[in-house]
Amino acid sequence: MARSYMERPKNLRFIQTALQALETEIHYSRTSLPEACMRIAKHSKHPINTFFHVFGENLQSGDGLSAKEAWDKALEVLRDAGFIRDDVERISTLGNALGRSDAEDQVKHLVLLQKQLAELIARSEEEKDQNVLLWNCLGFCVGALVVILLF
């Protein structure tokens, strides 16, 4: 339990870094989404690398998926990796905008999500501090109780 509280801000930070990289790819080199995603996948940490890899593959599948559909499908990776519902929903909003406008507009959407993620990170850090301590204490107490009962 304590571990999931510790993982959340770390994972959100990884997503934030990846979005920053995507922003750079779009703003400076006008790299197409599938190519940019594959590049980001190479330089990201688990599970973000898998997420961007799957998103890039969905876009290249040739099935005519829209960016929104490809993004939503890839979000499964984050759910499986233990992302909480609120975070996944926040990240999913970007799917509506991705790829559908000029670079200036794309950057605006990416910056907005990064800011929203920063808020989530701050909140999750607070929760982590409170809950990790609580669960660690609880773990210690239960352990101590078992020892007392045994002897």
Partner: protein, 301 residues
């Protein structure tokens, strides 16, 4: 070549073409929201009903907004921003050189087109290389190793680009250095800078380059003997062509118009008088690329 066009269509439209076997005749595929799909071929216009059988245009499968959006998504790799300049100009080039014209709601910024939104229709023009398309006109253009500056005049769809491509190939294969200024990536159909169609052994291509700047670049750096470019007609093209003439380089180009009279009214032409030695007028009378006549212009220039 054609396989790539099908790959760019939305899955539902791709299904219409599963049993389609007349690709060699297709010139254009037009998709308009809530209107039947229209295929323009050398045999005339027709449509496909929902099972893919040929039918009258009015009875054809109606394109939905979803069909069009998915098709555009595939053509742009869902990356509209990566093709801003092309979209602003109203067209995209697919791998293989096929050109896609776009119409929709234009978004303006200080009077200039910023982008297109809410696409309403697209027109896919299939690029097709016809080796030998220029055979009949070549004796007029290349005489005893000397190229004559030529302008090809015709209405749209008469094979100007096909002819220019084959002229480039034939001149270049005769050992003459050719530079193609391919503003719309139609002549050489470059993908990442490499021509996808045969434009000859000694041809260099400036892909996606505005004609006037391209002409200057080519003259400075590539020492061409012949410059080939498509659809001349902007005001700045005139002075650039005059530069070509001063450099002693020959130029072969094309221009919209039904007859030679159309040429006389062009402002750009007045600024580069004497550049062209002859004009070739094309029509579709016996299929695309029919030569109506060759006219001498300023023969002693």
């Amino acid at each position: 070549m054609v396989v790539k066009v099908i790959d760019s269509l939305a899955p539902r439209l791709r299904n219409l073409f599963v049993r389609f076997n007349a690709w060699h005749t297709v010139e254009e595929i037009r998709l308009r929201i809530n209107k039947p799909i229209v295929i323009h071929s050398s045999l005339g216009a027709y449509s496909l009903e929902q099972h893919g059988n040929k039918c009258q245009v009015a009875e054809g499968y109606c394109i939905t907004e979803d069909d069009l959006n998915r098709t555009i998504g595939l053509m742009t790799s869902n990356s509209w921003y990566a093709l801003e300049d092309e979209i602003r100009s109203g067209y995209l080039t697919l791998p293989g050189g096929h050109r896609v014209g776009l119409t929709g709601k234009t978004i303006l910024d200080k009077g200039n087109i910023k982008t297109l939104k809410y696409l309403g229709s697209i027109n896919i023009r299939l690029a097709r290389q016809i080796l030998g398309a220029a055979d009949s006109v070549m004796p007029r253009i290349l005489r005893s190793g000397v190229v004559r500056s030529t302008v090809l005049i015709s209405p749209p769809g008469c094979g100007k680009t096909t002819l220019l491509r084959d002229i480039a190939r034939q001149i270049s294969n005769c050992g003459i250095n050719v530079v193609i200024i391919d503003e719309r990536s139609e002549i050489a159909a470059c993908h990442q800078g490499v021509p996808q169609l045969d434009v000859g052994l000694q041809t260099d291509v400036l892909d996606g380059c505005p004609k006037a700047s391209g002409i200057t670049m080519a003259l400075r750096g590539m020492s061409p003997q012949v410059i080939i470019t498509d659809e001349i007609g902007r005001l700045e093209d005139g002075p650039a062509l005059a530069d070509v003439m001063r450099a002693g380089v020959k130029v072969i180009t094309s221009c919209h118009g039904a007859a030679i009279t159309a040429l006389h009214q062009r402002v750009w032409l007045k600024q580069c008088e004497g550049v062209f030695e002859q004009a070739v007028v094309l029509s579709r009378k016996s299929g695309p690329g029919t030569i109506e006549g060759v006219l001498k212009l300023n023969s002693d220039a």
